[in-house]
Symmetry: C2
Subunit: 564 residues, 2 copies
């Protein structure tokens, strides 16, 4: 619709759709105003009374809010393509996501970014992007591709590319590596996402001077306060893997910290959890439960994120804003009654026509041949062990006595298993080996090609035969997850798109996922934990304290490999 037609429609009060009898949350005055909202096609042309409408929807006194925004999410982590993902989250009132295609970029490079950008083109979900900044994430691992500042230039004028994605490599940033400076310079003046768990003091100052202006890694209140004081926008994350957010929000309320520069994100959240608990509305619910004022919670879920990322026309219900809205039963449980898409239309949940997936993202699985010898880990009496902490992504290093075979190689025992990371992009033959506590596997192995951030093949097991079979099983199907036991593949989820995603229906993905978890439990993994998520973060060298990459065991605090 032409701008002049919209202006005229607003002047005459002639709407294509009027949502009547709503309690409209006004993010500018913090009021809840009873009235009607008039739209002309995709644009709000007025809030109040007395509009003429071609079509009317009665809100029945329910609460109409700006569509909710996930300020930071990796679509790839849902394991389904953008269309499927949108159909999982939109029923929960999320109408906009700010996606960082960091995962597919680490596997397929710019071709991966182009693919996911294209696959999200025509969705009713508003999919905005941040350019992955750290591909590879660190120099301490082999990824599928590298993206330089020069590679990024082709994306600078794309309308949905907002800024630079999470700058995870804080060390390169504050030490002014040329590559990082080139990227930061390219995005100067645009939003730049940070990712700096526990960064503090002068290092944080230097990081801020360099450019990153958001953070979604805060794990305690003091960290929130220190980062907020430096002008960072705080993204409160409630995904699948990270926890502790209720305590954090309760502290924020207790101290009366202003929430104007806070917003919500999921980062990574399982589609099963989204279906069960909700999405951004689930975080809003938690926030209100922790004592955040309901209107402020709505703003954190919408307006604050829109402002942070320079999205001028969304995040509010006011003339000139786009029609992304969500109708909630109340502002406590945030149960969704109706969702209005970026087209200003009621969301109908229908899939978009079959998307064409570029061939380039189907050929990512490229491992060198693997032998049992390659999985042998010579060990001393005492070895550094990656210890998982329940319900958290961070790990801790402990030096523990280990069991060894006659040749002096590590064997599982005392609750310790073998961990392996195998390079899978360019058949380099790299294998990193280590010891992990927390899986308790007996008689089997679990493998995954979802392994942040380089997405090599990561696997854990108590015997090399099953580990070898797990790796070969994933090679065969182009990547994914599998659980094997005593020479049998118990369950397998093929993820042929970059070894990260599938275009299979969400229901079948969830069904296989449940089978994977059952199989994992069968080989001894605690039912309360999710070994698939745990496994996929164990190769991520930017999160403290100890990790394993295809290049070896890594100390994420000192950013150095650990010599054994």
């Amino acid at each position: 619709m032409k701008q002049s037609e919209l202006i005229t429609a607003a002047l005459k009060g002639e709407a294509t759709l009027v949502v009547k009898n709503a309690r409209v949350v006004n993010v500018f005055t913090n009021e809840i105003l009873e009235g009607d909202v008039a739209l002309s096609e995709d644009t709000i042309i007025g809030v109040g009374k007395g509009f003429a409408a071609r079509e009317e929807i009665d809100a029945g006194g329910a609460y109409l809010c700006p569509g909710f925004i996930d300020a930071h999410v990796h679509i790839e982590s849902s394991m389904v393509i953008p269309d499927s993902f949108s159909r999982v989250i939109m029923p929960h009132g999320t109408t906009t996501i700010i996606a960082d295609p960091h995962e597919i970029a680490n596997v397929c490079g710019v071709a991966g970014v182009r693919a996911i950008y294209k696959l999200s083109d025509d969705l009713p979900l508003r999919v905005m992007f941040m350019m992955p900044s750290c591909v590879p994430a660190t120099p301490f691992e082999n990824s599928g591709a590298a993206i330089t500042a020069e590679d990024m230039e082709q994306f600078m004028r794309k309308s949905r590319m907002l800024g630079l994605g999470e700058v995870m490599d804080a060390v390169s940033t504050i030490n002014c590596s040329k590559d990082m400076m080139d990227k930061l310079r390219l995005f100067d003046g645009r939003p730049i996402d940070g990712h700096a768990p526990l960064l503090s003091g002068r290092a944080l100052n230097a990081y801020r001077v360099a450019g990153p202006s958001t953070d979604h890694e805060c794990s305690n209140y003091d960290e929130v306060v220190e980062k907020l004081r430096t002008g960072m926008r705080i993204l409160l994350r409630v995904g699948s893997a990270a926890n502790g957010m209720e305590e954090l929000i309760t502290e924020i309320v207790k101290h009366g910290l202003p929430t104007d520069n806070m917003m919500f994100c999921t980062d990574d959240k399982h589609i099963e959890n989204i279906r069960r608990e909700g999405h951004i509305n689930c975080i809003a619910r938690m926030a209100v439960k922790c004592g955040i004022d309901p209107v402020q919670a709505v703003k954190m879920a919408s307006y604050n994120a829109a402002r942070a990322y320079g999205l001028r026309n969304i995040g509010a219900i006011a003339p000139g804003y786009k029609g992304d809205m969500v109708l909630f039963e109340d502002l406590k449980d945030f149960k969704v009654l109706k969702v209005f898409t970026r087209f200003g239309k009621p969301y109908d949940g229908k899939p978009t026509p079959m998307p064409i997936i570029p061939q380039a993202v189907y050929t990512s699985m490229n491992m060198a041949p693997i032998s049992k010898d390659g999985l042998k880990l010579p060990a001393k009496d005492i070895m550094p062990v990656i210890c998982q902490i329940e319900g958290q992504l961070v790990t801790e290093r402990r030096d523990l006595p280990v069991c060894r075979d006659a040749e002096g190689n590590f064997v599982s025992g005392n609750g310790l298993n073998k961990l392996a990371v195998i390079e899978r992009h360019h058949a380099l033959g790299n294998i990193g080996l280590g010891i992990v506590q927390g899986f308790n596997i007996h008689g089997g192995a679990i493998a995954s090609t979802v392994a942040h951030d380089s997405h090599n093949l990561v696997m854990v097991g108590d015997n090399d035969d099953d580990m070898l079979l797990a790796a070969e099983s994933l090679r065969e199907c182009g990547g994914g997850f599998c659980v094997v036991s005593h020479g049998i593949v118990l369950a397998r989820l093929p993820l042929p798109i970059a070894g990260l995603m599938t275009d299979a229906p969400v229901d079948s993905v969830l069904e296989i996922q449940r089978a994977l978890l059952d199989a994992a439990a069968y080989i001894g993994v605690d039912k309360k934990s999710d070994p698939l998520v745990a496994l996929s973060f164990l190769a991520l060298p930017v999160i403290p304290a100890i990790r394993l990459t295809d290049k070896g065991l890594f100390d994420s605090a000192s950013f150095k490999f650990i010599e054994v």
Copy 2:
């Protein structure tokens, strides 16, 4: 300084200047934190303790705030060039202004905009610009120039040109005139200033859909609420001519209206008043007196404006932000102790080297010959009269009995004087004549080439001889102000730059201004009023209710000329 050097300085805590022992206002957490602020050249690299410094300044426990921002100002209205203006306002803590060179643009067109942009290039004051949107302001008057969307394109990539200046012609906007649509389209996605006194309901909706997103014309609380609800940023203006702001702020406090989208501006404020009362700090003082929380007042005076106009690196004291700061004795009276410029240096008040003023702005005074006959105003018994309202810019129309001479022409009497607006740009010979109440002139005339917005020559008097002399006196000096009485020029302020400004020292300008006011009082003008300001707004057809342009008497409510 290179970015990498700044990052390194932040990391090492090595500052060029440290402001020690300050109470630092943090606009993100709303805290006041005791500590030191470290700068490396023009950039803040840390807030806290333990920095190494080449130079130290002891703040002695005073309050360090982000430099204050005037969110909307016409430099030309100060009657002095930008360098002089900056030396008037900076001692009061204003370190950034968002200038709309609307006045000089209406006289000299794009050449005027270029001139004032260039004249503000190297000042310690940060001078940002909005592109004048309405040149001429309306089709109801003859201005010196017109600026089309095409003319504007040359300014789009200038780093200090932020957006589109106040869109005063609301009628053309909501009726989608092609010219206005072209301009709005050109600035789509950038800040667009509104100017829409009393605009409401569907007309306001249409105006918002068209693009303007700020307003500095609110004169009552209901107007503030309605505009704020539509997402407009509210600029609370305390200048020389408009009043009533204390009541308005008191209402805002009483109703608990959030101030995040509110900021301060002066629009037009006499340099004499600035010297006496202060500038943006004067508004902050008033706001706190009216009950606004001091930290919120500081934010309204700095951070909120920076956010509204997309100025990412100012408006806060945090790493990566520019060194614009002001040290106040307290957050009540806002008495300035020290100002730090955009260069991160203590402000020293020195003038910049003699600026080169382009010749193009010196040749604006171009009136056709004027005769006494041309000033004759044939009148009926009852005539429409422009009645001034004490302390306000708005006027009201009254139809009053008038005195006439033998030929039936209007003569002064009963407190009514003759008003004339003479086209002065292209010697068109247009003269608009009308009757005005409120000056009470006896035996003299006052003339001005400062006459918003087209800046024709406007004059008021009780006899045609003195009016003629006043006009000729201003023709001679290239424009300005003068007061004449009984054939003698009592006082004259030459403003040879566009008939609006002078590069004469501020002190001499103020001295002559006082002489003008004394002279005005001598011919009968009430000492309490400022006839120079009053006169210069009487030709402004966008402010209610009745005005005079060079084309005739004008009804600003119906936007139609008044037939007598």
